[in-house]
């Protein structure tokens, strides 16, 4: 008698139905689409989306559908010329309000989309696009912090009237790395020196030694502090890169940390790498400066006569020119954090400076209440242009006043900028943070795939998958007859399950990933073959068909699990150590082993029990 618990049948049915649902969005394909987002990062309102639709209709641009997806409008088109026409029209009409990006949108029906079901995202090799890998100079970030401590130490010693021979910041690569070294002359009071340094060098581990030429105090950053500083530098850079990538208007960009000191940026659909890298590679800093209230900025802008000690800024976020005093109160590398939040007066940006900038700010605000202070964002980038057929690249500095506000009270290193809209506050916080990026990043890897090559890759991968699967199906059906067809069904279920898992994980599918799926199909057969060969053996021994099926599953189990575990070891190692497409392959391989264990052990047993189970009399098996 052949039996299989009812709950297992139910479990398998539920799992497969869910899998079918999650895998479903992948079978609809994609349309060319236009993604429209607001420049100020606010979500697009429903009526603005209606207006956009009306505008496209009025311009006679045909589109299939338009909808709001995570705050952005997606417009789908039947073909690429329509898509391009729409882009040009929208860019022309809404230049100031929207940024547009060409992309693809799945043709998934609305019901599925509402349920949050989406197809697997495609990797850059399948979609075309640009991959960049940046190296962050984390040591520079640590050195910067050390320079800050060194400066504080000098100031504290001078304030306490202690003579100093030398104060140096010692960076990585020396025998006492990541420390500040203070050398005092022989007659100096070492104890007084240490006392004076206690406050500015708080948190560092301090040691003292006497030298022939005097005594030395060494303050070393702890490992945790170094780590924190490095992480901070990476986070800052990621934030800044994200900010700038958004400015590019690319759809579904990825900016993520890779390893200790790398950042990888993936921009689907982007072709012109020079333009992108000009924008991403900018070096930015900030300056907090007082506004020159004695002179009239508009007059200065008209006459071109700028008063001494001030600088004129025509380029501001708020449209009118300003005159700023030349003295800098604080700079971007002294900014430790800027976040947008709420205050009693509506949206605000909370700004935090380090202690030194705080002192400066305290002194300045005490004397200048009710005067105005501005923030200037200074960006350096390389611009290449063609002069007489030769590519010339030169450094360009952009200075822009991003905020200008009245000083309402005395404050030091912790203050708020208010009087902004919610979107503005968010953007100002981003800009401030991007201006505090002082560490250098440089590009170490670039991979670009053209869109037509991406299409080619998909077509080839899918063809190989279909042909390979068809070959396996036919072969199994011929060799194992009815049981072969059961194996084919199980294989199909395996591919559906694997697709569903990958769609749920939102793991992007690359060409090696497709190869992984194909390989899984080939390998998943193995479990069925092991079971069927065992069943044949049992039948040869003269065992009854139903007992043979049961024995087949039972005796094959240890071989199936052992052989899958060894393959799993290879898959997991690749998953952990691999990057990019290799990791994609490993993910598919590993998941494929898991799903094939499930489908071939449970799925095929359930199916065979349905066919041959119960108390039926079965004369022979078609195997």
């Amino acid at each position: 008698m052949l039996e299989y618990a009812r709950w297992k049948h139910v479990l398998i049915a539920v799992v497969l139905l869910l899998a079918l649902l999650f895998a479903l969005p992948n079978f609809f394909g994609e349309d060319p689409a236009l993604q429209v987002a607001r420049k100020d990062h606010n979500p697009v309102a429903a009526d603005a989306e209606q207006a956009l639709e009306a505008f496209l209709r009025q311009r006679n641009v045909h589109f299939v559908k338009s909808y709001i997806d995570s705050g952005r409008v997606m417009v789908r088109f039947a073909n690429v010329p329509d898509q391009l026409a729409a882009r040009d029209a929208v860019e022309e009409q809404y230049k100031g309000t929207y940024i547009t990006a060409l992309s693809f949108a799945p043709r998934t029906p609305e019901v599925l989309r509402m349920l949050g079901l989406r197809p697997m995202p495609l990797g850059l090799d399948l979609r075309g696009g640009l991959y960049l890998l940046y190296q962050v100079d984390v040591n520079a970030a640590v050195n910067q912090a050390l320079e800050g401590y060194a400066q504080d130490a000098r100031r504290a010693l001078a304030a306490a009237n202690i003579p100093v021979k030398d104060v140096t910041a010692v960076g990585a690569g020396s025998d006492k790395p990541y420390s500040v070294r203070i050398v005092l002359p022989p007659d100096a009071d070492l104890k007084a020196g240490r006392d004076a340094l206690a406050a500015p060098l708080q948190g560092l581990s301090i040691s003292a030694e006497s030298l022939a030429s005097g005594s030395a105090i060494t303050a070393t950053l702890t490992t945790a502090q170094i780590r924190e500083r490095q992480d901070y530098a990476i986070q800052q850079n990621i934030q800044t890169l994200r900010n700038r990538v958004n400015e590019l208007g690319v759809s579904e960009p990825i900016v993520q940390r890779q390893g200790i000191d790398r950042i990888n940026v993936q921009l689907p659909g982007v072709q012109n790498s020079a333009e992108v890298k000009d924008i991403l590679g900018r070096v930015a800093t900030l300056e907090f400066r007082l506004e020159d209230m004695q002179n009239n900025a508009i007059e200065a802008a008209q006459t071109g006569h700028v008063p001494l000690g001030s600088k004129l800024y025509n380029h501001t976020r708020f449209g009118r020119p300003v005159l700023l005093k030349r003295e800098v109160i604080a700079t971007g590398d002294q900014l430790t954090n800027a976040t947008s939040g709420q205050s009693q007066e509506g949206p605000a940006v909370n700004v935090k400076l380090d202690a030194r900038a705080g002192e400066n700010m305290l002194r300045t605000t005490r004397q200048n209440v009710n005067k105005r202070m501005a923030v200037v964002l200074i960006e350096k980038r390389r611009e290449s242009s063609e002069v007489g057929g030769q590519k010339v690249s030169r450094e360009v500095t952009d200075e822009q006043v991003i905020n200008d506000a009245t000083i309402r009270g005395v404050f030091s290193n912790n203050f708020q900028i208010t009087g902004l809209g919610a979107g503005e506050a968010r953007e100002l916080a981003l800009l401030l943070r991007s201006g505090s990026l002082a560490t250098v990043i440089y590009e170490i890897e670039e991979r670009a795939v053209g869109p037509s090559l991406g299409r080619d890759n998909i077509d080839k991968g899918v063809t190989a998958l279909i042909v390979g699967m068809a070959g396996v199906f036919v072969f199994m059906a011929i060799y194992y007859k009815t049981f072969g067809l059961v194996a084919d069904l199980v294989l199909l279920a395996n591919v559906v399950l694997l697709t569903a898992l990958l769609s749920m994980m939102r793991a992007s599918l690359s060409l090696p990933g497709i190869a992984g799926i194909i390989l899984t199909v080939g390998m998943a057969v193995d479990a069925n073959v092991l079971i069927y060969e065992r069943i044949r053996e049992e039948l040869r021994k003269g065992v009854s068909p139903q007992a043979a099926i049961r024995a087949g599953f039972e005796t094959a189990f240890s071989a199936i699990s052992d052989s899958n575990i060894t393959a799993l070891i290879a898959g997991v190692v690749l998953w952990v150590l691999g990057t990019g497409p290799i990791r994609g392959f490993a993910v598919v391989l590993t998941l494929g082993i898991a799903t094939s264990m499930f489908t071939s052990l449970m799925g095929s047993r359930a199916l065979l029990t349905l066919m041959y189970g119960g108390r039926r009399k079965i004369a022979r098996l078609s195997i």
Binding site: V472, L511, D562, T566, A567
Partner: protein
């Protein structure tokens, strides 16, 4: 088992040829490991490869490798790494040189890998190989209780990738990250066969304690033979589909898989159990308590 000397010799010859080729000819490492520039460009009309090469050399690129790829309009270019250049500059110079050959040129794919990334990828590939081998050794030793079988498995595991590497060295096909991934998959799957055979050996020893080991091993291999061949045929169907239909990106990957599968089938049938036998494998090694239990029974 009687013919095992013949198979040992064949394996030894293949491995010696592979290793000799690896140490003398080396591998044609892709830019994944060496750093450098690799580009695929499409011209609107057929172009002369030598002309493109001459133009690249004139622009100051050292030793550019220029090849037709697919059709006479498609060209693959490979440049060695240059220490003090950013990817952006390389790209600009490359595009300028290509445009001078034909302004309608389109860059279908461009990879620029810094030398330091190349180095790291090489190191992480070696680590991946190491950890995979280690994990598998430990698992086999744990599951089958005896180093004799482990040794057989170790040998099979080393045998297959060495032949794959040898193949890549002899043909000078481009050896990239995807090939490394394929080799690791081969290691996993080649073991798969060996493990199935070992599983059967364990079972045969359990039921047939009196039979001499070489008979048991022969029986085990023959009983699993149809499964081994069946699985490999089916897997080969999909891998061959990948090889011929998957396009140039997956060519190396699928070639490595195919060679690995063939080598793996061979080694698990003819080599791994034979080695265990030559190191004196008997039933007691797999079931240490068997003999004792037999005596204690009244």
């Amino acid at each position: 088992m009687a013919t095992r000397k013949v198979w040992y010799t064949l394996s030894a010859v293949l491995m010696i040829v592979s290793l000799a080729s690896f140490f003398t000819r080396g591998l044609n490492l892709a830019i994944d490991f060496t750093g450098g520039v690799s580009a695929e460009v499409r011209f609107p009309r057929a172009v002369n490869v030598d002309d493109v090469r001459a133009r690249l050399t004139a622009t100051g690129f050292h030793e550019p490798q220029v090849q037709n790829f697919g059709s006479s309009r498609d060209i693959a270019i490979r440049l060695p790494p240059e220490a003090k250049q950013t990817a952006a500059e390389v790209r600009a110079r490359l595009e300028a040189a290509l445009k001078s050959a034909d302004p309608g040129v389109q860059v279908a794919q461009l990879d620029v890998v810094g030398p330091q990334v190349g180095n790291e990828l090489r190191v992480s590939a070696i680590w991946a190989l190491f950890f995979t081998l280690l994990g598998i050794f430990l698992y086999i030793a744990f599951r089958f209780h005896t180093w004799r079988l482990s040794l057989g498995a170790i040998f099979a595991v080393l045998h297959d990738p060495i032949l794959v590497v040898g193949f890549f060295s002899l043909t000078q096909m481009s050896f990239d990250l995807a090939v490394v991934a394929a080799i690791l998959a081969v290691i996993g799957y080649s073991l798969n066969d060996t493990v199935v055979v070992f599983d059967r050996i364990r079972e045969r020893f359990e039921t047939n304690r009196r039979s001499p080991p070489d008979v048991v091993l022969d029986q085990s291999i023959n009983q699993t033979l149809s499964r081994t061949i069946m699985t490999k045929v089916v897997t080969s169907i999909v891998v061959v589909a990948l090889l011929f239909l998957g396009g140039p990106v997956l060519k190396g990957f699928s070639a490595a898989l195919l060679i690995g599968i063939i080598a793996g089938t061979y080694s698990s049938i003819y080599i791994s159990s034979a080695i265990a036998l030559d190191f004196g494998l008997t039933a007691e090694h797999v079931f240490p308590t068997v003999k004792k239990a037999a005596f204690e029974q009244p």
